[in-house]
Amino acid sequence: MAITSEQNILKQVDGSATFQIDSTKVISSVTGPINVIRQRNEEPTSAFLSICVRPASGLPSTRESYLETKLKKIITPMINMEQYASTEIQIVVQILESGEREQFTCMELSCAVNSLYLALLNAGISLKASFLSSFCACKDGNIIVRPRMNELDFSTSHHVSVFSIVDGKSDELIYSDSLGKTTEDELFKVLDVISNDINKINESVRETILQGVVNDYIWKF
């Protein structure tokens, strides 16, 4: 299952990145810190995150605004918000292609988190820790990491988790969302599996970041 990612593809924003797992592709952009656009959003002690998710096709609906809420919950604790007091960080997540049915959001959420991480890095926003996300589906006690559309359709439960990365290894659980019939044992197994998978994703993502640093190297000719 191919993972591809790329940083710094858009010129007008401060940071941007694409992230693709299989047939789900997401592009994110980060602009900021900038002055707060609407006065009432200004917060005196921390930054205001404006997150906007656009679907692959059609107009944004409640599904997208729920994704926005989830992303906000995941990202807010990862940014040093106090450092950007009374400013705004503008985030746009555009789903380019979605490899799941609209009843699911796990691939999109997971890719969005990963692309957003890269975009935040690219924009030079101060983060508390690195973080990455992956997802899996369970059926009859079997766990399938990064399932395809079919496998997801037939699963009894599916899980999305976000872990922080410390020393190149997944470290701490940041966020986890499980839907469908599941048990406590399954949850912990899933968390272990995802944590291992994130280590794999991390390898590929590190490449991208490295490449990004090389490309941005200021003194080149």
Binding site: I9, L10, K11, Q12, V13, S16, S23, K25, I27, S29, T31, I34, N35, V36, I37, R38, S50, C52, R54, A56, S57, G58, L59, E88, Q90, V92, Q94, L96, E97, I218, K220, F221
Partner: protein, 393 residues
Amino acid sequence: MPSTDNTLPIPNILTLHSLFSSNPPLRPSLRPLTEPRDLKISIINKDNGNIEIKLGKTYVSCKISAIITKPFEDRQFEGIFNINTEITPMCSPLFSNGGGNDFSTSAPAIIPKTVISVEENEDNGNDVIMGGGAMMGLGVDQTSIEIMLSRLIEKAVRRSNALDLESLCIIAGQKCWSIRADIKFLNYDGNLIDAGNLAVIIALLNFKKNDIEIIGNGEGSELVIFDENQREKVGLSVLHIPLSVTFQFFSTESIERNIKGEKGVISRKIKEDSDDEDDVNDRMEVDNDEVGVESESRSSNEIIIVDATSEEELLSQGSMTITLNSNKEVCQISKSGGLNIEQGKILECCTIASKIVDKWTKQIKQVLIDEEVKNRDLKIEKELSVVNDRRTS
């Protein structure tokens, strides 16, 4: 961002001014006035018509989706085709979410004082208020940009009947295909109209929908949808390829001279001191007398460029969009306000546009052929592998 090519490192308005007012006028990138930037087409997913194009640094993605629905009451023999254009802050922080809001606070410092300021109008959707003559110039508020953009692309593709709507009808009055094109503007560097138009058309040409068949007649009929393993997907019936070319107009003259012509020059000389400084629009005015003398010999000295970058749009004093296909049929012309242009110049523009459209059409067709070849190879490979599988099993 450091850059090694010939473009200006910082969008320097003054440099732009002086380049344009030089004789002959130059563009910052030294690109000829009537030549568009390089068009790069990449097909992401051939079946669902997901494509990306790059026109210079302007980066647009378009995706087509098709579903079966009920046709409109008043158009029972036709399918439905919608184009969705939305501008998000992703393509430039100058734009905000949801449209119609002020972006003055978030805008970087490069924006010069606009000729006419932008007024935010949140509640009154009907009153459209805008600034400068440029179509996509930054002095224009987002609502009007979005309206013009969506209308121009819609007229170029939908109203010119590029997509054969009648072929989308399945059972008259009951079922039809509804095709939807979602244009996503990812990066803004001028000329969103042409790029958006190109993206939709290329996506439509690449899109393939599932084959269907109606089995039985009358009440007992069933609609069967085949997936791609059963029957090959079928393309849409695209009748012609309309492409837009947007021109930006510049002038080194004052607005008065543009309107009044030579007479204006004379009257200006009479009351020179009063007029000289207070013309707000005279941003680009160079030395009065010299140009005045020159312009008497020339009929007019509007500078016309195609495929403007964001900096050029910033400065533009007027724009015109022409949509053509390679059969030399004009599908739409839209010009309002901005510099007044002689009719000869407009026809000249049409000829230029026609050349550009021909060039683009050729490129698009080449991409299609390449894609076809690639596809065919894949298919043969697949068939062979299946035959192999059978033998082994």
